[in-house]
Symmetry: C2
Subunit: 315 residues, 2 copies
């Protein structure tokens, strides 16, 4: 499915993946609400299986395969949460999964893939090498490539987090999500702009990987050439599918610097006792730094993941 | 109230504090369940107000004061979670609160008290100095001393966590809690042994502060002379009230070493994405090290707190 997904595809995805995903809880902080003069709700996808929202999209993609496609397995390249998510999703269906990862990948991320019996195929740490390795494997195996974000089933799956969020919290005025390749915010926007809910959707990017903001403002998709941010899940640039949805349905993209992200991450761990990774903390930082006008509003934040490196905390 | 509290006092405490405490959620881990061949449920008092179960007992004690007593305020000595809990409880009633703390106390713990407008009275870092400072203040102010654990209203308040736990999870066979001064396990045992529920209650102590195990086994209350453990919330020795309840109603006390506690704490953060402090992690360590026979059982663990020092992680 390479066409633009619809809100209806999110509904279908939600039904498809319901038996397998966690309905993640929503947390609040009275301290933060008083600070901001707003009511903020955190949708805890750090508590999702594999520690990130990525499992939703990967699960929807894997469960959408025909039996014949499924027999040949799935493959992707990823140095982060999508690889583990796809491996976990494939394990549900008992099908082969191969994840092309750079030789320099964090050992914890490699273990996360092998934990679900995914095969890791190491390659040189360049995009060209990754794509070549992946293409060679697909040619040989007939596996289906599940792209981390530029894929309609993946986007529809990611949208199920927002769909649940609306069921859990009434009358949200604004939804905030981190933006990397754009899968999460695209799925979120499909849900938020459906049925005239009148909900604003705002993305948050690290200043050091701000392709989505530049793309949205210029009306032309541009890429991050040398991403420089601690939020390692947000290095990717938008794809054609995600850019199209963002241009149509996202109201704004704001940026935060890494120092503010680290401060927000530490504050969140200390106050809410929840482990979130830097890529999730960007959205908290945007709130704390006043990058989004939330005064008097009901604000939903999707905390994208919790796979922080506990051996190298950034403070 | 210095008599031994009853299960009925826990019921009264639960009604009294209900408007003020969080009904904390229960978390599970499929990975851990598979590892242990058990069904383990974690009651997340790390998500309680002030980051620890201590708020329950402090809240019950403060709300139980007569208006005349309340006017003179409350006081305690604490280098840890009880001080912040009492300050927060006192702020609910708008009454004065003074916490005697050693000059060497962690600045974060001091801030936690002042955050709730508690007054901190520094003293030399000895038990004698603390008690002298506290006695002098009480003499002058007429404040009521709220002991961190050897107090019937405090014990009854701590028992409300177990009471909620039984409402949230059916058919628990075994409850596990950390043991410091014994307030939490005493309150827990009052609830678990009420109405012939047939639930075992087991405490977990650090090997370097094992007074409760020694006391239970010898039938005579002994003290920790030089507690040596990373679990800084568990340095205290049992009091007469908590020892009496433990002797009557606790089935066993097991110990864990600090290395296993640190391992369990890190594993818990990584897998469950929840921040727990070392004093809570001892109970997870006991499970992971097979210190308690849980095979085939439904096991409830009360995670006592989440106030870990993020600047000095023990791994």
């Amino acid at each position: 499915m390479s066409n633009t997904p619809s809100a209806g595809d999110v509904v279908a995805a939600a039904e498809r993946i319901a038996p397998h995903v966690h309905r993640t809880p929503v947390f609040t902080s009275r301290t933060l609400d008083e600070l901001l003069g707003a009511a903020v709700f955190f949708k805890c996808e750090n508590l999702q299986k594999t520690g990130a929202f990525k499992f939703r999209g990967a699960c929807n993609a894997v469960l959408s395969l025909t039996d014949e496609q499924a027999r040949a397995g799935v493959a992707t390249h990823s140095s982060g949460n999508h690889g583990a998510a796809l491996a976990c999703a494939a394990s549900l269906r008992g099908i082969p999964v191969r994840v092309v990862m750079p030789e320099t990948a964090n050992p914890a991320k490699i273990r996360a893939v092998t934990h679900y019996r995914g095969e890791v195929l190491p390659c040189a740490p360049t995009l060209a090498a990754r794509e070549k390795s992946l293409a060679a494997y697909v040619e040989e195996s007939g596996a289906t490539v599940v792209h981390p974000f530029n894929d309609a089933q993946v986007i529809a799956g990611q949208g199920t987090a927002a769909r649940e969020f609306f069921e859990q919290v009434a009358d949200l005025d604004l939804l905030l999500t981190p933006v990397g390749g754009g899968g999460l915010i695209s799925g979120t926007a499909l849900v938020a702009k459906d049925q005239d809910r009148g909900v604003r959707v705002v993305g948050v990017e690290p200043a050091g990987a701000d392709d989505a903001q530049r793309s949205l403002r210029s009306g032309e998709r541009v890429a991050n050439t040398a991403p420089d941010t601690i939020a390692d899940g947000l290095h990717a640039s938008l794809g054609p599918l995600t850019f199209a949805i963002i241009e149509q349905s996202v109201d704004d993209i704001v940026t935060v610097n890494d120092a503010d992200t680290v401060h927000a991450m530490r504050w969140f761990w200390e106050r809410l006792k929840l482990v979130i990774e830097p890529s999730a903390a960007v959205a908290v930082a945007a709130l704390m730094q006043g990058k989004v006008d939330v005064s008097g509003r009901r604000v939903g934040v999707i905390l994208s993941g919790g796979n922080a490196d506990l051996d190298a905390l950034p403070w």
